[in-house]
Symmetry: C2
Subunit: 464 residues, 2 copies
């Protein structure tokens, strides 16, 4: 009799425990569970059977699958078993609509490429409609390859912003300012006016960070560089610029100003937090110290630098000095795609070869450049770049079970050395699923591809 009562009491206690545990579970919008979670947090945590609780636009918790299951119930669930769960990739330098020019001309000297192909094509095709079609195609490719945030410099950037938002991507989008007449502005002053209107329209957008994009120190005079920077400072938005990309740029600066591009901009008071310098290839050690002390972010573009034969950026020195360093693909006219996994791999390969040391830019450093490093370079490290509670839920689920990825000894090695954008299964930005099991949900793939092919006919006609 005593035994029976004890058993009943025990059963009742277990029942109570279950009820209590269920009551303690918080319902959140999305739980991703069962994968290897590569957090890229400051401790570098990799959780083999991990999970993520997401509520609305934010990450609520990152832990083992067991702990998350005890604490959270997801209104929606994603099973990531056999996959890797990773912060969404951050492409810190693109010209998104230029996907419509990819492969139009390759293997040419820079001036022939620009003068015979890119400039004539741009003169005859760039329009709001072109830019929107190009952005849709670029967004499709980025979502499919795991990029969740991108930094962009092009014309009609407000159109790019609308399409980026519609696709559900996060963008740091810079309205281009350049001295000569371009498709969306006859003068740099007009470009600045357009940039300010753009900033005002998108200033409080949760996905779009408007920015000013003075093209480069060799395509703008000093007053216009300063005016661009002042506009960005006035509104507290980022400034995106090409910097020290080619030897020609350095030689030009020496001839015209008796100084280097970095020192010239520094002399104008241009450099400071909020500036993202794309390429930064031809930068000396003392100039690296200037970039670091001014809090400038750098976007490294290994594929573009190789294909255009621009040179080799001093990446090991940037890493050693702690410069905020992100990774970019550059526009697809000069790369020719937007796959950030390949950018990681090439960043690692290139600097190993260049230094003669296979230990340089290891897999974790390459992955950091494409995630938390990019966030730092954009000044967004408090909201994106790693999987941590209270950050935005920008997350990708990467397939890791194909022949090319078998066996797997180390997920970080595999992410950098054998993974491609096509392995990404699921892409989430601000808690919203943009692609699930390779099906893009925010864009109609067939119509995006079809309109891109129509534009290609016009581009072809423009250069013939």
């Amino acid at each position: 009799m005593k035994t029976r009562i004890a058993v009943v009491a025990a059963v009742a206690a277990v029942g109570l425990a279950i009820v209590w545990s269920q009551d303690a579970q918080r319902t959140v919008s999305l739980v991703i569970t069962g994968g290897t979670v590569v957090t890229m947090d400051p401790a570098g945590r990799v959780i083999p059977d991990g999970a993520l609780a997401i509520d609305g636009a934010d990450i609520v918790a990152v832990d083992t699958a067991d702990v998350i299951a005890r604490q959270f119930r997801g209104a929606e669930a994603i099973d990531a078993a056999g996959h890797v769960v990773l912060p969404g990739l951050i492409n810190t330098h693109t010209h998104a609509p230029m996907v419509l020019y990819r492969g139009l001309a390759d293997d040419l000297a820079l001036m022939e490429w620009l003068n015979k192909y890119i400039f004539p094509a741009e003169a005859k095709t760039v329009s709001p409609e072109f830019v929107r079609a190009g952005t849709r195609l670029a967004a499709l490719e980025m979502i499919q390859s795991g990029t969740t945030t991108y930094a962009d410099m092009y014309y009609f950037e407000e159109e790019i912003a609308k399409e980026t938002k519609a696709a559900g991507l996060r963008g740091v989008l810079g309205q281009t300012v350049v001295q000569f007449p371009v498709a969306d502005a006859k003068t740099p002053a007009e470009a600045l006016t357009r940039a300010e209107a753009f900033i005002q329209t998108f200033k409080n957008d949760p996905l779009i960070t408007p920015a000013v994009a003075p093209h480069a120190m060799y395509t703008l005079d000093g007053p216009m560089l300063t005016a661009s920077r002042e506009l960005a400072r006035k509104h507290g938005v980022p400034t995106l610029i090409h910097l020290a990309e080619t030897r020609d740029e350095v030689q030009g600066a020496e001839e015209r100003f008796k100084t280097s591009p970095v020192r010239y901009l520094d002399g104008l008071g241009f450099l400071g937090p909020g500036v993202l310098a794309a390429h930064a290839v031809w930068v000396s050690e003392p100039e690296i110290a200037i970039l670091k002390s001014r809090g400038v972010g750098v976007s490294h573009n290994p594929e573009s630098n190789m294909k255009l034969a621009s040179g080799t950026a001093p990446v090991p020195a940037y890493l050693r000095e702690g410069v905020a360093l992100g990774l970019g693909t550059d526009g697809a006219a000069s790369n020719n795609d937007l796959d950030m996994f390949e950018a990681m791999r090439l960043a690692s390969f290139l600097h190993k070869l260049h230094t003669g040391d296979p230990r340089v830019v290891n897999a974790r450093e390459a992955l950091a450049m494409a995630t938390i490093g990019g966030a730092r370079a954009l000044g967004m490290e408090r909201s994106i770049g790693s999987l941590e509670p209270d950050k935005r839920a920008d997350v990708i689920v990467v397939g890791m079970r194909g022949a090319r990825q078998t066996p797997m000894y180390d997920p970080i090695s595999h992410l950098v050395y054998v993974t491609r954008g096509d392995d990404v299964q699921t892409t989430i930005v601000a808690g919203k699923v943009l692609m699930r099991n390779r099906k893009v949900l925010t864009l109609d793939e067939a119509s995006v591809l079809s309109e891109a092919r129509d534009w290609a006919e016009k581009v072809r006609a423009a250069v013939n």
Copy 2:
């Protein structure tokens, strides 16, 4: 009445014409039609709406889809509309079973990598069973990524040959000869005995070309290098060797023999037609002339050379001097995959950067290295490497319709600059379809991956 007779006569004439045309059609085993055919033939023909007639193991005709449709009826047909039809890719340097070590250790100095990881792992795991499982995995990856012929150097090469044949791939397979004891031979003399038995077994095989693979000039003494070469000459089979891969190899040769690796081998009478030199990184201009005059083939491995920081091979000079130049991935322990599209892209990127000239190694040259150039380097240019009548039907159909490949201005640019192995849809060797619409037909994918994961457990245990 007259009109009616005329109509009847006309109908009868058309009927006759149809009958005549059908009679003139030859029935062949396979017709591939509707794609852009990139032939890589001496004229460099690209046929936009092209087709291929294949009978048995051979290509019968390559022409427009119309002409092929008039002349041939395929017992089987493959619709390649929207795709590119290309000669199967030729990987001129691999160690196939090392896929089982991919990602085991990266980012290490060469000696640490070898002594702490690769040598201990090989000592405890290399066996006929390991080699067979590794070859199955490598074959799966190669078929999936469009490689139809590969050159290999490893241990138990007869087991590799059996699996290669079973998978339906073409292989130039070299039995390794090395001075120190290895898994399949205690002495180099024993290795030579095994190599000769291997040659005799596979000498007349339609898919397997047996070869002798003396490892390198620094891992064999002069008599054994000579004996290896003599064995290959005696049987008229290729000789595969690593050559001038690292600066250390060159310094060692200088110290021990007061000469360079190339000159040392030439002094032994080793160099000649049938020799394939892998890497050939540290080769001077006069030594390039030696390789050319001796008819040596070269295998360029840009990814391995970058990741291991070995150096930059003088590829523009090889091309200029007309050295038979192929492309390779190297073993997956040092790359870490077998994707020849990435090897093409990196060959182009690397030499543009190294020379500072974006015109160097253009897309067509990179594609040639992976196809007809590889065939020349292996001495097989009369049977493979291009789509021409009377060559073997080694053909791949490459998907070209994804977002990353849209729009397409030039198929050759796209093949090199934006395509990955995963875009390959169909792989055919000697007229046999090994993969159709991404489904591999000659290997059971799930069991190949599962046994590879089992082997990985043993590898992990061996290095811990």
